[in-house]
């Protein structure tokens, strides 16, 4: 990750300012606060945590502790489309490992990584609740079922054309 410049850091503080008003003095805020940071910046930047920890008087360790505990929080920026390949039980017995491997080969990314063009981030997840259509993946908020490795690539390539 490239460190932020002084200029972008000022910019960052201005962008986070509204969150301070929203959360100052309240309890049980860590998760929604981090979710808001992620919404604003696209990920949880280390600089953002340091800044908010000072302003809100919360230990940075607590914020990082929560950010690293939950799968939802990202400490790295992510691509335009997040590919969530289901690795749940039903998908596993229907061959989802092969889907994931094919995507890894095709886009030259591993679990958690983003393609060089910044279009896709690959994530393995544990069940998308569409088990009867296994194997399944979700691209952005759209679920695609009854996949084969080839079909998965086809679907993903159609997003590239859309982008």
């Amino acid at each position: 990750m490239t460190p932020l410049t002084t200029e972008s850091l000022e910019h960052l503080e201005a962008r986070l300012e509204p969150l301070i008003d929203k959360y100052k003095g309240k309890k049980g805020i860590t998760i929604p606060l981090l979710a808001d940071v992620q919404k604003e910046l696209g990920y949880i930047a280390e600089e953002a945590v340091d800044f908010l920890s000072k302003e809100l008087d919360l230990p940075a360790a607590e914020l990082f502790g929560v950010a690293t505990f939950y799968a939802m929080f990202r400490l790295q920026p992510e691509g335009k489309y997040v590919i969530r390949v289901c690795r749940g039980t039903a998908c596993h017995v229907q061959g989802s490992a092969l889907i994931g491997e094919q995507i890894q080969r095709h886009f030259k990314v591993k679990d958690g990584e983003t393609t060089e063009d910044g279009l896709f981030t690959l994530q393995y997840v544990a069940c998308l609740g569409c088990c009867s259509l296994a194997p399944v993946m979700m691209v952005g908020n759209e679920v695609h079922g009854r996949l084969t490795p080839d079909k998965a690539i086809q679907v993903l390539e159609s997003y590239r054309t859309r982008a």
């Binding site: 309890k27 049980g28 805020i29 860590t30 998760i31 929604p32 979710a35 502790g65 929560v66 505990f69 939950y70 799968a71 939802m72 929080f73 969530r84 289901c86 690795r87 749940g88 039980t89 039903a90 998908c91 596993h92 017995v93 229907q94 092969l98 491997e101 094919q102 080969r105 997840v125 544990a126 069940c127 998308l128 609740g129 569409c130 088990c131 009867s132 259509l133 296994a134 399944v136 979700m138 908020n141 759209e142 679920v143 695609h144 079922g145 009854r146 490795p149």
Partner: protein, 589 residues
């Protein structure tokens, strides 16, 4: 003539199967017509036939399966306009025989009474089907203790996994003295392979809200929280819509129906941690902390969110509540056997013909669920195991298929009823691989608080990896059994206490398969990649080059019309060559 109603299955599963374009097509063809109404409905549980379209015309309801845009056009032209049913595409018919009618007749739909039938974004459709009548009855005609007694009498037990009597749980929370109480709905549905709760939330969100309101009245809570996993965006959307509408109509908020009872609900999105489905971890998460469980007592009924009495119930448990209040506990307890009353919704997936949801009376034998309701195993393959209860559950073999689905009988096998995920496996599924899969899941999801859970599951996983690579020994099996006991005894919460179950049940019922990996260095199901090898039969290969062209890793070499060869070191065992070979020359050993 009454209006024709067209219902398109637009739950996540329907959309994933291609329901979106079908809805758009029907909408564009029928928009503006006074005699037809097109609407989106939830999942009726026949996921294997999605996209589904139901036509309700002159009192006759016909459901079509595997609809695409072309078929949608034909349905409009022939069925809607000319009243001519397209027989070969019919799945269900309420007034004539249809191929899937029996699958519906085998069910008793209490929880799923509305899903797939009503438009979940329209509160009037819920109200038209007895909606909020249970809440009205509870608030106006019953005291909180009477509500609790009714639920106790019904025999309803928690559907989230543990099967604790719901009425009793409410009683504890009712008796706790405090100025503030919380009523939480557990919509975290973490068991991979389960989607009952998603379907209810997407397809009938008001039933859950109503159940929560009744429960809140019973225990004396004024604040409700739905903890819903973020992987369910459509469920969250429908819940939000339902909350708005319920508030507008005065079913939530201050002074509900003029009774003086006030209660409102908000949603907390989960942040992706399986352990947060456990009550005390969920409470920590709601408080904004890392979702780590804590010892009980104190139980949440006495000290939950921010130290206040808190009651947590599962989605399916709550969806039962309004029905029980409206119809009475006797109607509910009529179904079931022994201490398991009512129905259970199962999410059927894996190697079965008819994947989807089914709600059956408690006590139905597993065999009937798998073979009658779920339609058996595809491609004439042999049944091997059914996995119940997800990462906390176990795999049961053919011999145990006569076990009735009730809490006690299933526990006796070493599996658990769990939340209702049922993943069926056939002879092409490797049991060691499945055990390894679950262990890698719990090992990743362990919150790390208890050393036995954190490190013990890691060690178990390493042993299973060894076995699946052909490097295991008989001592490894003993070690697995020994670690299993220690992890069970040394863990604070249900995650660790049940984590070894998948390994224990597979060791108990499928030991030969472990031994095949250890002694013969063979994976009988041909799954474990280190133990299998692809090769091309020189007698059969015609040198068509198809396999070489399709191999994703260029592991196959050969010239046109000459024998092709697979390089075992490069081969990733993806099976593509088998799929494309026109003469069946590729073999796996």
């Amino acid at each position: 003539m009454s209006r024709t109603i067209v219902k398109v299955g637009m739950a996540s599963c329907g959309i994933a199967a291609g329901g979106g374009p079908v809805f758009d097509k029907l909408h564009s063809l029928l928009d503006g017509r006074d005699d037809v109404e097109v609407k989106k409905v939830g999942c009726i549980g026949f996921c294997y036939k999605e996209p589904l379209v139901e036509i309700e015309k002159d009192g006759v309801c016909v459901t079509y399966g595997e609809v695409d845009s072309a078929l949608a056009e034909e349905i409009v032209e022939k069925h809607i306009d000319q009243g001519q049913i397209l027989k070969e595409h019919v799945v269900l018919n309420n007034s004539a025989e249809a191929p899937e009618n029996p699958r519906l007749e085998n069910q008793v739909r209490i929880v799923l009474r509305n899903t797939g039938l009503i438009d979940p974004e329209n509160i009037d459709e819920y109200i038209a089907r007895e909606g909020y009548r249970g809440l009205e009855k509870a608030l106006k005609e019953m005291t909180p203790m009477q509500v609790i007694q009714e639920i106790l009498d019904s025999g309803l037990r928690g559907r989230g996994g543990a099967g604790f009597p719901t009425g009793l749980k409410w009683k504890f929370a009712h008796l706790a003295k405090a100025d503030k109480k919380y009523f939480v709905c557990n919509a975290d549905e973490g068991d991979p392979g389960a989607f009952m709760d998603r379907s209810v939330l997407e397809g009938d969100p008001h039933s859950v809200l109503e159940g929560m309101a009744v429960g809140a009245y019973a225990i004396g809570a004024d604040e409700g929280i739905i903890y819903c996993r973020a992987e369910y965006p459509l469920a969250i959307k429908h819940l939000n819509r339902a909350l708005e509408q319920a508030r507008e109509r005065g079913f939530l908020g201050d002074n509900i129906m003029g009774t003086g009872f006030s209660f409102d609900i908000h949603i907390k999105e989960g942040a992706g941690a399986f352990v947060c489905g456990e009550e005390t971890a969920m409470i920590a998460s709601i408080e904004g902390k890392r979702g780590m469980p804590r010892p009980r007592p104190p139980f949440p009924a006495n000290s939950g969110i921010f130290g206040k009495p808190t009651n947590i119930n599962n989605v399916e448990t709550l969806a039962n509540i309004p029905w029980i209040i409206t119809h009475g506990s006797g109607e509910f307890s009529k179904y079931g056997i022994g201490k398991s009353r009512g129905t259970k919704v199962f999410a059927l997936a894996g190697k079965i013909n008819k994947g989807g949801l089914a709600e059956v009376p408690m006590g139905m034998p597993l065999r009937d669920v798998i073979f009658d309701v779920a339609g058996g195993i595809p491609n004439n393959r042999k049944f091997k195991a059914v996995q119940l209860g997800g990462p906390s559950g176990g795999c049961l073999p053919e011999e145990l298929l006569d076990t009735p689905v009730d809490y006690e009988s299933i526990n006796a096998t070493g599996a658990i009823m769990g939340s209702g995920g049922m993943v069926v496996m056939d002879e092409t599924t490797c049991i060691v691989d499945v055990a390894k899969f679950f262990l890698s899941f719990v090992q990743k999801e362990s919150c790390g608080k208890c050393p036995f859970c954190r490190i013990g599951t890691k060690r178990m996983l390493e042993i299973l990896e060894r076995i699946s690579e052909g490097n295991g020994s008989h001592e490894d099996l003993d070690l697995l059994a020994e670690l299993a006991v220690q992890i069970k005894d040394g863990s604070l919460c249900g995650l660790g206490q049940t984590a070894p179950n998948p390994v224990l049940t597979t060791l108990k019922y499928f030991k030969e398969e472990y031994l095949a990996h250890i002694d013969d260095k063979k994976c009988p199901a041909k799954v474990c990649t280190t133990l299998i090898h692809y090769s091309i039969d020189p007698e059969k290969c015609i040198g068509c080059t198809k396999c070489a062209r399709n191999c994703p890793v260029d592991a196959i070499t050969g010239e046109v019309k000459k024998l092709h060869v697979i390089n075992d070191d490069i081969c990733v065992r993806c099976g593509k060559c088998i799929e494309v070979c026109p003469v069946g020359a590729v073999t796996v050993e």
